[in-house]
Amino acid sequence: MDRSEPIRTDMVIVGAGPVGLFAVFEAGLLGLRCHLVDNLDKPGGQCAELYPDKPIYDIPAIPVCTGQELIDRLMEQIRPFEPTFHLRQMAQTLERAEGGGWRLTTSAGTVFEAPVVVIAAGAGCFVPRRLPLPEAERFEGRSLFYAVRRRADFAGRRILVAGGGDSALDWLLTLEPEAEEIALVHRRDQFRAAPDSVARMRELVNAGRVRLIIGQIAGLEGEDGELEAVRIRTREGEVRHACDRLLAFYGLKMELGPLAHWGLELHEGLIRVDTEAFETNLPGVFAIGDICWYPGKLKLILSGFHEGALMAQKAFRYCRPEEKLVFRYTTSSTELQKRLGVRA
């Protein structure tokens, strides 16, 4: 796609968690087309990333479902409205579009122009948890990485991988054949990664091809962003491990990110909205779900669903100022049933 040509649509939703997904449904019933932006590699937000297997008991009419089941059901429910997902990218800037509406640009360079922007970003976007050492910044992107973007950066290197989960072990096993040497540092001799990966790692350790260090990273050494050694605190004291690449996997954290600078009125780190339409201080920009604040706000998924329904009513007026909005029920309206694809 030509990146200079913006995607024109009715509604851009920032965040593909449960509330963002249900907003697609409410907007879709009114005939509005939606695009969603999310920094994760899949829809679902916290439900899919933090607690896919944990039970949720407070969704109306669903006595129990897991986080992932809730997302799967929402994805099925919004399928008729054919939303477009733009994943692995963060909503970066928001500015007024020429001729009205909003222009939103993502970290991947995708540009949207739409009369309505809906922020359903939960607790913010998921980003890798950075190494909390003052010197880390000097090495980040040069010899310290939180993800593998280009494998060539690691070939023939002396690599240290940190972490005990699937990301850490998968990359350890993938990079082992092409590394000059490779080591794994983890705080305990137990790993939550898939048992098969752990078994393969242990084999490589026994074969002398991977060095396993039980401890926690205490410091980084090197010049001009080039890592020379990592200091590791172990039970037996501090050790100095020589290496020139560090790949650290300490999970993801959530942060408000770029939208903190969009000129939105905030209340203790959340976006202040009205309770009629969940609109922010910027006309046509709405906030729903955990990220919005109003007196009495509860951070419940069901509250976010309600907020999305009311938001869609006002969003319609921005998207279709010439048209009249008639309130209808899915039970009785042939028009809504056509949109849902259950009636020809």
């Binding site: 607690y51 944990k54 972490g163 989960g165 305990r188 926690q216």
Partner: protein, 105 residues
Amino acid sequence: MTIRVYVTDREGQLHELEAEPGWTLMEVIREAGLPIEAACGGCCACATCHVYVDEEWLARLEEPSDDENAMLDEAFEVQDNSRLACQIRLDERLSGIRVTLAPEF
């Protein structure tokens, strides 16, 4: 009965908090307005309610679950007395417990 909890914040200030039986330690700390992120809301899915439990109280707690240990893998400055506050359910036997907030990252 009211349960007393003593929390040392990251500036070294000691806070005496009161809790009802059945609350988690994270909830007491959060309701008191102390800076504990508790991003996942208490379902043991993050490591942002990391605390250090005073040695004398540590042995009175149940052992951390596999889930809790797995989440502690994503924390920093983990020590032998590290726990996730959302996984410590308070009852009267724990009245007087002393903990320190771990550094925030």
